[in-house]
């Protein structure tokens, strides 16, 4: 929602009614309160990407929402837990949230295997779940269900953006290195498909152990595959990516003409290793804080509150919370089936998701995506100003088309 529109709307409402909007007070809460649970990695590789700061983002969203629309008839509680990127723990915590603490909705959940575990729990216990930070397309395909929504991005979106662009502009022949677990395999599949769609070819594809310290085997292979190989596509994420790039530089591959394309890159990774290590890398992102004026304004408010610049996960959590609470308002109740109905098919545009639609058939939230480039050290003008947005991929193109969907709800 555009901020000015909201301000005008709020002004109209305040003029029209003396008390806070009565429609808010008419929302029926089945247990007298709304419990929002945030499940993510609070101590591990994804702590900076998402972590406790996402919980803060959710709090901010609830506060802003209630300030604008008035308080709900009961308290809105926010609880969180650390799943340490372990699917077992995610499974246990999700069930605890739903059964023991009466959570209405679970948000965030990075790490694909954990994300799938929570989807299963949501389906069984019939409670809402909006995933923001995991990449697996399975959430909207094989593992889709009525109560699960996938918000910010997925491997298809990443591959579609990066692979297409890089194959067309830099080189047709790829060597893909991926971590051999659910996320990595998903990425490899999506990238392979996107590369082939763009007329490129995957010469070789190697699965590495996960997690892994030492990528020298694969970097050596990359050297020997040249000159027929143009692009080295790396699908590792987090700490493994940092390791990989470090060793890539150690082996001097950039000067040997081995171009690097990164599947999934977070602002926090660039922050960890420094801009120079990633300079020039092309990648696809659902959102960066430098996108435009509206996102910058929000990022400034976020910075004031949390002292860091937001990653897309933080922004996504805020946006998803807002959309959930909106849906509750529209439905007039927090009863799960009614809220699901209010979410399905809804179109909106806020500072995070532009031209967005919550697809009815697979619960994929589609929105514009962006191709970005990591700046050179000299181009950085302020802290966290590491990337430059190159182009927009419209919502209709960015995500997997429904015709290809394997979702049967």
């Amino acid at each position: 929602m555009k901020r000015w529109g909201v301000l005008v709307g709020a002004a109209v409402l305040t003029i029209a009614f003396v008390a806070p909007a009565p429609s808010q007070g008419q929302v029926r809460l089945t247990s007298g309160k709304i419990v929002i649970a945030v499940l993510n990695d609070q101590s591990g590789v994804y702590k900076d990407l998402s972590g406790p700061t996402s919980v803060e983002a959710v709090r901010m969203a609830v506060a802003d929402f209630e300030q604008q629309f008035g308080k709900f008839p009961g308290p809105v509680e926010i609880i969180s837990a650390d799943h340490q990127n372990k699917p077992d723990l995610a499974n246990v915590k999700a069930r605890e949230f739903y059964e023991r603490y009466g959570a209405n909705i679970i948000l965030d959940v990075p790490t694909s295997s954990a994300a799938l575990a929570v989807a299963e729990a949501a389906k069984e216990l019939k409670r809402l779940y909006i995933n923001i930070t995991a990449a697996t397309t399975q959430l909207t395909n094989d593992n889709c269900n009525k109560y699960t929504f996938h918000y910010a991005y997925d491997t298809y979106m990443l591959a579609n953006g990066t692979a297409t662009e890089v194959t067309k502009k830099i080189g047709k022949n790829w060597y893909i290195v991926y971590p051999n677990y659910a996320f990595g395999q998903d990425m490899e599949r999506s990238f392979r498909a996107a590369i082939e769609r763009s007329g490129g070819k995957v010469l070789l594809s190697d699965g590495t152990p996960f997690p892994n310290d030492d990528f020298s085997t694969y970097l050596i292979k990359a050297r020997t595959l040249r000159p027929t190989m143009h692009v080295l596509g790396v699908m590792q994420a987090g700490g493994d990516l940092v390791n990989f790039v470090k060793q890539y530089n150690e082996f001097g591959l950039r000067s040997k003409g081995v171009n690097l394309a990164i599947g999934l890159l977070f602002l926090s990774d660039v922050h960890a290793l420094g801009v120079q290590a990633f300079e020039g890398t092309l990648y696809t992102t659902p959102w960066e804080w430098v996108l435009d004026k509206q996102s910058r304004e929000w990022a400034d408010r976020f910075l004031a509150r949390t002292k860091v610049r937001p990653t897309f996960a933080h922004a996504g959590n805020y946006s998803a919370t807002w959309q959930y609470l909106s849906a509750v308002r529209r439905a007039g109740t927090d009863q799960p089936d009614a809220v699901v109905a209010a979410l399905e098919g809804f179109r909106f545009s806020d500072f995070f998701a532009r031209n967005a639609e919550i697809r009815r058939q697979d619960h994929r939230v589609i929105h514009d995506a962006y191709l970005a480039r990591v700046k050179a050290a000299g181009e950085v003008k302020e802290p966290w100003d590491y990337v430059e947005i190159l182009s927009t991929i419209p919502a209709g193109e960015a995500f997997q088309p429904l015709s290809a969907s394997k979702c049967k709800m």
Binding site: Q42, S43, D82, K86, P87, D88, L89, N91, V92, R95, E96, E99, R100, S112, S113, L116, A117, E120, K123, E124, N180, Y181, A182, Q185, F210
Partner: protein
């Protein structure tokens, strides 16, 4: 004797009332880990062999039961029993090799084999789901009764766990168990008396692993989910810690240890992130000063009231250290 009877009744009451007192998920974990720990004690406390790889068998049982339930529609508790048998079968070749070395080596070898199983489960994605694990395992009783209700499932599981723990007790309180004790105390002597020591050790290990697999089978149906963490060596270490904390070689020690560790984990995790430090510290403290464990110490206190006689710390004369204090 009536004190004992009252004790058993009180315990029975506690077990039956547990889902009222704590979250049912926690109560179920206590049940399954109690059996797991008790089965580990067959090998550790009674045979004197430290296995650092029991997570592999607990996990194998869990994966097997989960897959049978999910893909084969096998009901509970048949799937758990099948899981136990799978774990037992898996243990035969691995432990056959492991018992060829003693003491420390046995521990290292079991650790290494468990790690190998971990990697295999990770790689064999088509079967185990790899990192995702086995999800959405159905919870159905033989005869078709739906056990989605966690409390109902708990009460169905109680007799199974009791049966499992009783089997552990029966194994060690038998002529077979006596030989195990002899092997523990002085293996060379047992061998010289003509006992096929390796075969006894192997059988003890296989029984232990089978019952661990049974516990694993119950665990996966309770959680409706199993993934790699269950077969990681930290799980192996945790269950050994439970046995030590509760008291090796006692009937209920391991179960008490399991309950305590799980309680602590539940309480601590809401306050602090430092679960690992706390666990490690408790472990260190238990090993240094409290090796008899809770139940063991209690038993000692009671014994010393009845027959005051000095008892020394366990010694292994055939593996004496070159450096003494």
């Amino acid at each position: 004797m009536t004190v004992r009877r009252i004790g058993w009744v009180a315990l029975g009451g506690l077990v039956l009332l547990l889902p009222r007192l704590v979250y049912e998920g926690l109560a179920l974990d206590i049940l399954t880990w109690a059996l797991f720990a008790t089965s580990v004690d067959i090998l550790l406390g009674h045979t004197g062999l430290l296995s650092f790889g029991h997570a592999a068998f607990f996990g194998a049982g869990a994966y097997a039961s989960g897959l049978l339930a999910l893909r084969g529609g096998v009901p509970y508790p048949v799937n758990a029993v099948a899981g136990a048998l799978v774990a037992g079968a898996l243990s035969v070749p691995l432990l056959y090799l492991a018992v060829r070395r003693r003491g420390i080596y046995f521990a290292m070898i079991t650790l290494a084999f468990a790690q190998m199983i971990y990697y295999i489960i990770n790689e064999w994605r088509s079967l185990t789901g790899g990192e995702n694990g086995v999800q959405g395992v159905p919870r159905v009783l033989v005869g078709g009764l739906d056990l989605s209700n966690l409390t109902l499932f708990y009460y169905v599981t109680v007799p199974l766990v009791v049966l499992g723990i009783w089997m552990c007790w029966r194994i060690v309180h038998s002529p077979f168990g006596r030989v195990l004790m002899a092997i523990r105390e002085n293996e060379v002597r047992a061998r010289s008396l003509g006992y096929p020591v390796d075969r006894y050790k192997l059988l003890s290990a296989v029984l232990s692993c089978t019952l661990s697999g049974f516990a694993g089978g119950m665990y996966v149906i309770a959680h409706r989910f199993v993934a790699l963490e269950t077969v990681h060596w930290i799980t192996s270490g945790t269950v050994v810690m439970m046995v030590l904390l509760g008291g090796m070689e006692t009937t209920l020690g391991p179960a008490v240890g399991a309950a305590l560790v799980l309680f602590l984990r539940d309480i601590l995790s809401t306050w602090t992130d430092a679960w690992g430090v706390a666990t490690g510290a408790i472990f260190v403290a238990v090993i240094l000063v409290f090796r008899q464990g809770i139940v063991g110490t209690l038993q000692r206190l009671i014994q010393s009231r009845l027959h005051p006689a000095p008892q020394s710390a366990p010694r292994r004369p055939d593996e004496a250290t070159p450096v003494s204090r």
